[in-house]
């Protein structure tokens, strides 16, 4: 068992977290990191460079590695394609609401199962896990019928409710892991020093869980952002469609405007990247801070 030394949380940079071979030089790690970065990035690079390629260069027997000569026509087409900005707005509203509500609700539930022991806790955990095993496509039609009976079909809120139900089990489960990883002793120490239970929680545990909250929020965000089938079936009006559905409208029976689609996807990912860059500071500093001493 780990030797527990009770102390306050302190920020420090772990030199070698996890205790893997200390003699492993940082330089080699960085090189490997770069290689991994290039490999993981390559398909995305290919997508973005395709958005700049001329049509005849997209599928060539000898691949064109750099989009030169290129064209901005695809971006022009995607920007002017019907419902681009509205779909971006709809996705932002739907996914934003889903994530905010889901994180709050999931956090409460995660605290409950991680920190307390109540009757039915085991059943709750099992249900949370079992729900994720339901094949989602099997639920589409009954879900749609139900939503339309309460006039939630073709409403952004209908989609939000659906996404909440799909995202909550996973969020509760992940957050539970983060909350549980923080020893109770820290709270207890704070309470001995005079804090109330809630106060101890807010002052000690919450800051430590913050990176976990951010991580879970990002995960939930991405799952909701990329969802297609439910968004497509529930929303009837093109003006209310989400960004993912908008991307699918680049294909007709005759052909698929790949350049336009890649350009559209690139444009859609820009707000995501900005969002992540803004948030990752807390994410990363939280992680590098390491926090838990002992």
């Amino acid at each position: 068992m780990t030797a527990v030394s009770v102390g306050r949380a302190r920020a420090h940079k772990p030199v070698s977290a996890g205790g893997v071979n200390g003699r492993f030089s940082k330089g080699i790690a960085n090189i490997i990191g770069l290689v991994v970065l290039i490999v993981m990035l390559f398909p995305i690079y290919w997508a973005v460079s395709t958005s700049f390629k001329r049509g005849v260069d997209m599928t060539r027997v000898t691949p064109e590695w750099f989009p030169v000569p290129g064209t901005l026509q695809h971006y022009f087409d995607a920007w002017h394609k019907a419902f681009f900005l509205s779909s971006l707005r709809n996705s932002a509203i739907i996914v934003g609401s889903t994530v905010v509500i889901a994180i709050i609700v999931a956090f409460f539930a995660a605290v409950a199962i991680a920190r307390t022991n109540f009757r039915g806790r085991r059943a709750y955990i099992v249900i949370i896990i079992l729900i994720q095993m339901i094949p989602q496509t099997a639920l589409i039609i009954p879900l749609f019928v139900m939503l339309s009976r309460v006039h939630q079909q073709n409403q952004l809120s209908g989609v939000v409710f659906t996404y909440l139900a799909l995202v909550l089990p996973f969020s509760v489960w992940t957050l539970r892991g983060f909350v549980a990883n923080i020893p109770k002793d820290l709270e207890e120490a704070a309470m001995i020093d005079g804090c109330s239970r809630v106060g101890a929680f807010m002052r000690v545990t919450f800051p430590l869980v913050a990176p976990g909250l951010v991580a879970t929020a990002i995960f939930a965000f991405i799952q909701a952002w990329n969802e297609f089938t439910f968004a497509y079936v529930i929303i009837q009006d093109n003006s209310k469609e989400t960004a993912t559905v908008w991307l699918a409208s680049f294909s007709t029976q005759q052909q698929i405007d790949w350049g336009g689609m890649m350009a559209g996807a690139t444009m859609l990912s820009i707000p995501l990247v900005i969002l992540f860059l803004l948030v990752q500071k807390h994410f990363a500093t939280g992680l590098t801070a390491g926090a838990v001493k002992g």
């Binding site: 001329r54 049509g55 005849v56 997209m58 599928t59 060539r60 027997v61 026509q73 695809h74 087409d77 019907a82 589409i140 039609i141 749609f144 019928v145 139900m146 339309s148 009976r149 309460v150 006039h151 939630q152 079909q153 073709n154 409403q155 809120s157 297609f228 089938t229 497509y232 079936v233 009837q236 009006d237 093109n238 559905v245 699918a248 409208s249 294909s251 007709t252 029976q253 005759q254 052909q255 698929i256 405007d257 790949w258 350049g259 336009g260």
Partner: protein, 450 residues
């Protein structure tokens, strides 16, 4: 049962919530140009016999929901708008709500809507209609056939796709036919001055091409799984895929005629094509743009996509001719692709739907569509329009075939029976006799299954 209890709880709560939510676009609501709001939802639709030639009917009010595919959104949005304008001169207080669907999952979405509140007009691919007709999902409009312009001259391939059990369940929308698309430069280089009119001439021309084209280019690029093209040979030699005898289907691919057609195809393929045997025709336009094909057998719109600067090579000069048949009397029958417009049986606005459909694909609407988008119209009477009269594809459309109108035909397609059969024939894995026999067995069990 706990589930039932939970359901009751859930539904009660949900219904309570419903009272608070405002529905922004309920299909029964009304907005109309003149600003006056009427009260009753769609119950005021006119009965089916109401004539449309009298003055504007201001008593009719409600919403007409139309689902078209993205092809209309990208290709001919003006014609859609004109249809709505024409419709509104007759019914000024009915709002026409056109929503564009993607091809991906659109049947899933339709099924969900059919379980709740369906739209009033839906575009379906002509190979998608049979299952819906057979299940009673679509409105029977046999009695109103006369209301639609040109209904006596609808293209057979499309008309077949909206007819079931002798009754009419939809209106043909537009068609696509296949022809041979070729590179004029290659033909000039090979000294071919006129398009071939028989399959033997085609083979001869192919040999001439082989002498002058680059080694990686096929004279006739034929992807092995191109079953639409392959079945043209079956039908062109007098065979068919399957026939029905009082509801029992029999597959006929092993008949001598069908096998003869496939033999001819195989010899064409081995002589003239370097395309892989296990891919389908979806990327053949890209292959042509990349210089891998002197000729392809494709849809009319593929000419556009080969030349489209967004996805292809605008510098390739192309021509087209109908795929020649056994002899010079008729081209090889072409598969007639295309779409139909259907009305769900549960729609409460059948009369309005019929009016709008006629405004969209009736004589005026169809003519505009042909002139603008160069699609093949739903009627033979418009095949002579100058915009398309000389097109190889229009000529090809005059002799066409369609898939067996069995309720389970879609299952044959989704299980890739024909594609797999062709792939093994053209790759040499199986003899034509064996492959067709195996395919027939499979088709029989699928078509006659429950």
């Amino acid at each position: 049962m706990k589930a039932r209890y939970l359901t009751a709880v859930g539904l009660t709560a949900a219904l309570a919530l419903a009272g608070c939510s405002s529905s922004k676009t309920d299909t029964g609501g009304t907005t109309n140009p003149s600003g006056t709001t009427s009260t009753a939802p769609a119950a005021s639709s006119a009965p089916a016999a109401a004539p449309s030639s009298s003055g504007p009917d201001t008593s009719a009010s409600g919403t007409l929901t139309v689902w078209l595919q993205t092809d209309a959104q990208n290709g001919w949005p003006t014609e859609v708008a004109s249809a709505t304008t024409a419709f509104n001169t007759k019914f000024p207080n009915v709002k026409v709500d056109v929503q564009y669907q993607t091809w991906a999952d659109h049947l899933t979405k339709l099924d969900a809507a059919l379980a709740a509140t369906p739209p009033d007009v839906v575009e379906l691919g002509n190979t998608e209609t049979t299952k819906y007709m057979a299940s009673g999902a679509l409105a029977d409009i046999t009695a109103d056939k006369g209301k639609f312009d040109n209904s006596s001259t609808w293209l057979k391939g499309l008309a077949d796709s909206v007819t079931y059990d002798g009754k009419l369940f939809g209106v043909p929308y537009y068609a696509g036919a296949r022809g041979v698309i070729y590179s004029t430069d290659a033909f000039a280089k090979a000294g071919i001055t006129a398009p071939p009119t028989t399959l033997d001439e085609l083979k001869a021309d192919g040999e001439k091409l082989k002498a002058v084209i680059p080694s990686n280019q096929s004279a006739l690029y034929w992807p092995g799984k191109n079953w639409y093209g392959a079945m043209s040979f079956v039908y062109g030699y007098g065979g068919n895929i399957a026939t029905s005898d009082g509801g029992k289907w029999t597959a006929n691919l092993e008949s001598p005629e069908a096998q003869a057609g496939l033999t001819e195809l195989k010899s064409l393929h081995s002589d003239l094509s370097k395309a892989p045997a296990d891919i389908d025709e979806s990327k053949q336009d890209a292959s042509m743009a990349q210089g891998l094909a002197a000729m392809i057998y494709g849809n009319g719109w593929e000419v556009g996509s080969v030349n489209d600067p967004k996805v292809g090579n605008p510098n390739l000069k192309l021509g087209s001719f109908p795929m020649p048949g056994k002899d010079a009397s008729a081209p090889l029958p072409s598969f007639l692709g295309g779409s139909d417009l259907v009305i769900p049986a549960a729609s409460s606005n059948v009369a309005w739907a019929e009016e709008w459909i006629n405004d969209f694909v009736g004589n005026t609407g169809m003519t505009a569509l042909v002139n603008d988008a160069k699609v093949i119209p739903n009627t033979t009477s418009l095949l002579t329009l100058p915009a398309i009269a000389d097109s190889a594809f229009t000529k090809a459309a005059q002799s066409s075939w369609f898939v067996p109108t069995a309720p389970n035909w879609a299952d044959v397609e989704s299980q890739n029976v024909l594609q797999n059969m062709l792939s093994s024939i053209l790759s040499g894995k199986q003899s034509i006799a064996d492959a067709t026999k195996a395919a027939d067995t499979q088709i029989n069990s699928i078509l006659n299954g429950s």
